[in-house]
């Protein structure tokens, strides 16, 4: 039969309109082009000009259409009318909703502003939400960083004024050896994917350290299937090997770090272990050239790294480097010792150390790029040690994460590979001082009825005097951030807010106000307990223990039924947003970048963007900054108005590009009424390009530092000195030894003494250390599927066709030993509970580890899914097994299940055992919770023919 070839419209336009904006399917914030036809979204593609994704788009980004048209979208403001959790709501008007919110929040503010806890989840507007909390006057604000990766951020900022991901990246185009630690499919999405492609194309060796071999780890040249929570020991052993083989960059250490700074050795003294300082307050070093003590910050000295020196007062001091080298040269960090702890063979550790050293020192890069250092000395070329690393949640989500992250950065620094060609590179506005100068606000006496806080709630303590504690050393914040429980809790402890508020520990709250955080489900530890805390009533008052809960979300998540007032948000395609340098930037190493979202479609529901709503509430409350002198709203145009016109400091606003009356200023400049138009014309972003002489060694680069000061990124153009030895930690430790005005309660002294070691170290994660390992022999961890990382994939009609249920993955040999076969149903038991699920056997997993995809399990009825959706019937969460509190100790007190330095949630410390379920127990996961009912009604679509409306135009 002959072919009857049809006519094909080879050149049909995609749509009738194309608008640029910024993706929000995860936290990457890629530039996208949204094509519309007849007002409907036809196609979303990556923006080739955008610095983050350069045109590509991930599996989530391309499924954005289904997120935007999800049947789980909330339709209108809701007021709870039945009991909490029942899902009985009445739809109300925005006037009523905003009136209620204002009334509740106004009452609290006039009584005690700290009785409002404002916690936001995957919030990309923390510069606004944090400022709202400050102007309202509550210290109880944070976003989701405390249960995500604050260990990574804090350890990096305190150590070298940067961190991974948003603060810096490997020099992907030049690096010759790359090690990836604890990254499954997450932070960041497209940048890591494109980078791995580049490394592959150049034949660069990729080493992946991860208990599980999926995704990025699957394509590595070498996979190190490490035991969870032991990465710090592996890194310590690498350092041990580099020291033993004399393969570290001593010149780099004396130039850029505090390695030569002298540490006072005077046991028992109030300044033991602090840095010896001269009369001008500058740190001292021993100058080998003059044979005397000298200001360690001077350029023309020859600082000693080894030895013991006498201070003018007769006491002795040693270079901090000597202390550090002593620790890592000891047998405690030998590859053999590390092999027993990590499961990585000692030979492999030695070989990795050799490969790192060989690449760093024998494959040095020299670029023909002159630059001038902080002391004004011109260098004709820029040299670099081309080894690089990246790490994320697998490292940070442990109770030893802060020190493990520090160890990782110390390794980078010893190799001389920070901000050099081929190494790690800062992304401006980083580097910042170590640590950044802002301290947390909310000290005793600074929270007052009807008054704003004197500063931003979040900051970086530099010693006990910066803690938010009362006279007895008890916490002033609801999440106990910046208390002796978690002194450097730079992102707060969102995972503890509901528990603490319900237990009135340290005090109750009147209103809990949350945004975009599924705290009654996959964002909380110990979900059954959290549901109890959300619904329990105080028998004396008859009120809920948390009397009022306001929640804003775009979708019918598991959290919605537990709130009293719902402020429905828009989807990401219906809103203005700004990706600000004041918040979490999207910069690149060659220059800072920021971006906006613009509405590309109008909402078809009675919903409003949360940021505009918050600004409205701020004005109704007459908060300073939200109203003008006459009490009229200062930003009547909502968030878009705020983005353009709000000034954080003189000439500094949300967006750095197109400032000034003529739109030609960068960084600082008057508000430009046409700024958003300028951004839209530029593809909804602005990328400033640094001059070549500013691009490397930014921490010590005069041209960069001068410019960074000029545009307001840093307060002074001083070099950023890497803190191998972290003096602020020693200050906390001295307090625990009984020195100073602010001291920890007796119950906390041993803990502070142990964990506030100024030199990083590895210790066993808490859960494993307190439990009987024979009873709970397995580590249990989670990963997010690459096509769902950081987004709400379960409601997405396309993404859930790829993954709609999760299994517990277990090593084939381990399963065989336990008599468990593929597809068997098993019980997972932890110290606090049991979960039933189905297993899948695999090879590429550490044999002492089981794992699953996180957040796949959904509660029946949530997210617009049918009650028999596999997410609800066979999906499961490990959250139910993770305690938010550690077992009682030290006088009956229960610390949160967090890092003792930063308060980072220790998700991956979980220990379990597994047993085969009985045959009659197979088929459904457990525990089960009552079905949720969508207040807007159920909409079960039998068939989706999305796209049929475009057929005519396409043919």
């Amino acid at each position: 039969m002959p072919t009857g070839e049809p006519h094909i419209a080879l050149s049909a336009p995609v749509g009738d309109t194309c608008k640029t904006t910024t993706c929000y399917m995860c936290a990457c914030r890629c530039g996208i082009k949204v094509h519309l036809r007849n007002g409907k979204v036809r196609y979303i593609e990556g923006n080739r000009d955008h610095p983050v994704n350069r045109g590509v788009l991930c599996g989530k980004g391309s499924a954005g259409i289904m997120q935007h048209y999800s049947p789980a979208r909330l339709q209108a403001p809701l007021k709870r009318v039945g009991p909490r959790g029942s899902g009985e709501f009445a739809e109300i008007s925005w006037d009523e909703a905003l009136g209620l919110a204002t009334e509740w929040l106004g009452d609290v503010r006039q009584k005690d502003p700290s009785r409002l806890a404002l916690f936001t989840g995957r919030d990309q507007s923390q510069a606004l939400t944090g400022w709202f909390a400050q102007q309202y006057g509550t210290p109880n604000f944070a976003a989701h960083g405390g249960f995500c990766s604050v260990n990574m951020a804090a350890a990096g900022l305190y150590t070298f004024g940067g961190s991974f991901w948003e603060f810096g990246d490997p020099d992907w185009d030049r690096t010759k050896y790359f090690v990836l630690f604890g990254v499954a499919e997450d932070h960041a999405s497209n940048p890591i994917k494109t980078a791995l492609g580049k490394l592959k194309a150049r034949g660069v060796k990729i080493v992946a350290v991860n208990p599980v071999r999926t995704g990025y780890n699957a394509i590595a040249d070498e996979w190190i299937g490490i035991r969870p929570g032991t990465d710090g020991m592996l890194v310590g052993a690498l350092i041990h090997e580099l020291l033993q083989t004399q393969r570290i960059d001593l010149d780099y250490l004396v130039r850029y770090t505090n390695a030569p700074w002298l540490v006072i050795r005077d046991p028992g003294a109030p300044d033991d272990g602090l840095i010896a300082r001269g009369e001008n307050g500058k740190p001292l070093a021993f100058d080998k050239k003059s044979g005397t003590l000298a200001d360690a910050t001077l350029a023309d000295i020859a600082p000693a790294l080894v030895g013991e020196y006498r201070l003018p007062d007769g006491r002795t001091a040693v270079p901090s480097f000597t202390l550090m080298a002593e620790r890592f040269l000891s047998a405690e960090y030998s590859p053999d010792k590390a092999a027993a702890i990590t499961g990585v063979p000692a030979d492999t550790i030695r070989r990795l150390a050799r490969e790192l050293a060989r690449t760093a020192f024998e494959e040095q890069i020299t670029l023909d790029m002159p630059w001038t250092d902080w002391a004004g000395r011109r260098h004709e070329t820029t040299t670099g040690r081309p080894v690089s690393m990246h790490a994320m949640r697998g490292i940070s989500a442990h109770s030893n994460g802060f020190h493990t992250c520090r160890l990782l950065h110390v390794l980078q620094i010893l190799l001389g590979s920070i901000d050099c060609p081929g190494g790690f590179r800062y992304k401006p506005p980083f580097p910042r001082p170590t640590p950044p100068p802002n301290r947390p606000a909310g000290k005793l006496g600074s929270v007052a009825a009807g008054k704003p806080l004197p500063g931003a709630p979040l900051g970086f303590p530099q010693g006990p005097e910066d803690l938010l504690v009362d006279g007895e050393g008890q916490p002033l914040r609801i999440d106990k951030a910046y208390s002796w429980d978690a002194p450097i809790a730079a992102h707060g402890l969102m995972h503890m807010v509901i528990t603490n508020a319900a237990n009135a520990d340290p005090y109750p709250v009147d209103v809990l106000f949350m945004y975009m955080a599924n705290m009654s489900w996959n964002s909380s530890m110990n979900v059954p307990a959290v549901l109890r805390y959300l619904t329990e009533k105080d028998p004396e008052t008859g009120d809920y223990r948390i009397p009022k809960i306001i929640y804003s979300d775009a979708y019918f998540s598991e959290m919605v039924p537990y709130a009293d007032l719902i402020l429905p948000d828009t989807t990401y395609l219906e809103r203005w947003d700004c990706i600000s340098l004041l918040d979490r930037p999207i910069s690149e190493p060659d220059g800072p970048a920021d971006a906006i979202r613009q509405p590309v479609v109008e909402p078809d529901r009675d919903v409003r963007p949360f940021q505009t709503v918050l600004i409205d509430i701020g004005a109704r409350l007459k908060l300073p900054g939200f109203v003008d002198d006459k009490g009229a709203p200062k930003f009547p145009g909502g968030y878009a108005d705020y983005i353009v016109n709000h000034e954080r400091g003189p000439g500094i606003g949300s967006l750095a590009g197109f400032r000034g009356a003529d739109g030609k200023s960068y960084g600082k400049g008057a508000a430009n009424p046409k700024q958003l138009d300028a951004y839209i014309a530029n593809g909804c972003f602005y990328h400033h390009h640094l001059a070549p002489e500013q691009r490397f060694y930014k921490h010590a680069n005069k041209a960069y530092l001068d410019w960074a000061k000029e545009v307001g990124f840093i307060g002074a153009a001083d070099p950023v000195i890497f803190q191998l030895y972290l003096e602020p930690l020693q200050k906390f430790r001295l307090a625990a030894r009984g020195h100073g005005a602010v001291q920890p309660p007796a119950s906390h002294r041993r803990r502070i003494e142990t964990f506030f070691d100024p030199i990083p170290f590895w210790y066993a994660p808490f859960e494993g250390a307190v439990l009987d390992e024979a009873e709970f022999p397995l580590h249990a961890i989670t990963q997010r599927p690459m096509h769902m990382y950081h987004s709400w994939g379960s409601q997405n009609a396309w993404l859930r066709q790829i993954t709609a249920e999760n299994r517990l993955y277990i090593h084939r040999d381990r399963a065989r030993a336990l008599g468990i076969g593929d597809d068997d149903w098993v019980w997972i038991t932890s110290a606090i509970g049991r979960v039933k699920c189905q297993v899948r056997l695999m090879e590429g997993v550490n044999p002492d580890t089981v794992w699953t995809w996180n957040a796949l399990g959904k509660r029946k009825g949530a997210w617009g899914l049918a009650p028999d959706a596999p997410e609800a019937t066979r999906g499961f969460l490990l959250n139910h097994l993770i305690s938010e509190l550690l077992p009682e100790r030290e006088g009956g007190y229960r610390f949160s299940n967090s890092d003792p330095v930063t308060g980072q949630a220790a998700w991956y410390d979980l220990r379990v055992r597994i047993e085969k379920a009985k045959p009659e127990e197979a088929g459904e996961s457990w525990p089960r919770f009552e079905r949720l009912v969508n207040p807007h009604g159920e909409m079960q679509l039998a068939v989706s023919s999305f796209g049929s409306e475009f057929r005519e135009a396409a043919r």
Binding site: I8, K60, A866
Partner: protein
């Protein structure tokens, strides 16, 4: 049954790098997104929010492990129509709806003449055909025929949606009939291979194999300095401190 062109001017197809693919699904969802509103519109989904969500996808990614122990590896394998030179899916078609284009070798289905008999999906050994239950016709990869010649696009965007989206650069599009093309060069350099060559359908698409690993199985162990020098007596540490105690200028 349907006849094939004697030869095609070009052999347009994909080259997929299994060494680089991380299994992120970007090519699958971007394909779904483009094609549900393009030539194949719609790619229907059954029970999109129900117990058994499934629909028509023109590109699917499978992840699996091969080998055991230290030789085991995880592979991500994207699967779509290979635009074979002698495709049985075309020759079995009773209506001529399935056909291979003479000018570029792309295998297409004419939705107006497809009767949904599914013979083609039985004939295809690669499982590359997708029946749309709502539309009642067979759907398949078109190599984004409505993109690759689209004059309303910038020239660099005249590529299939999957290639356009792929973040790792694991997907390449071009003329595999031209031995000098970039894709042909890549196939030659990297040992690109045919899928199931024994079935004899001569697929145009090629796969690039994972590169040999560089780990403990292929790299000799490093010497143990402590063992060689004896660390117990502290001499390694002493030598380190002597080495570090040098005149270092800033």
């Amino acid at each position: 049954m349907t006849t094939l062109p004697e030869s095609t001017g070009k052999k347009l197809g994909l080259v997929i790098d299994l060494d680089t693919c991380v299994g992120c699904q970007a090519c699958a969802t971007s394909c779904k997104e483009w094609n549900t509103g393009g030539y194949s519109a719609p790619l229907t989904d059954q029970q999109p929010y129900g117990a058994d969500p499934h629909g028509a996808w023109l590109n699917r990614i499978h992840g699996y492990e091969v080998g055991e122990g230290s030789q085991s590896r995880t592979v991500h394998f994207p699967r779509s129509c290979l635009h074979c030179e002698t495709p049985a899916c075309v020759t079995v078609c009773p209506t001529g709806a399935s056909y291979k284009r003479a000018e570029d070798g792309i295998v297409l289905v004419n939705p107006d003449t497809c009767i949904g008999c599914k013979l083609c999906s039985w004939a295809c050994p690669y499982g590359a055909r997708e029946y749309d239950y709502a539309d009642g016709v067979m759907k398949k990869c078109t190599l984004c025929i409505d993109r690759i010649y689209n004059e309303t696009f910038e020239p660099e965007d005249r590529i299939p949606a999957c290639v356009r989206a792929c973040p790792t650069g694991a997907r390449h599009f071009g003329d595999l009939g031209d031995p000098t093309s970039a894709v042909s060069t890549l196939v030659a350099e990297r040992g690109g291979f045919d899928l199931l060559p024994e079935t004899g359908y001569k697929p145009v698409n090629k796969y690039l194999p994972p590169r040999p690993r560089r780990d403990a199985t292929t790299t000799p162990a490093a010497p143990d300095v402590s063992a060689a020098n004896g660390s117990d007596d502290g001499s390694v540490s002493a030598r380190f401190f002597a080495w570090a105690d040098k005149m270092l200028s800033r």
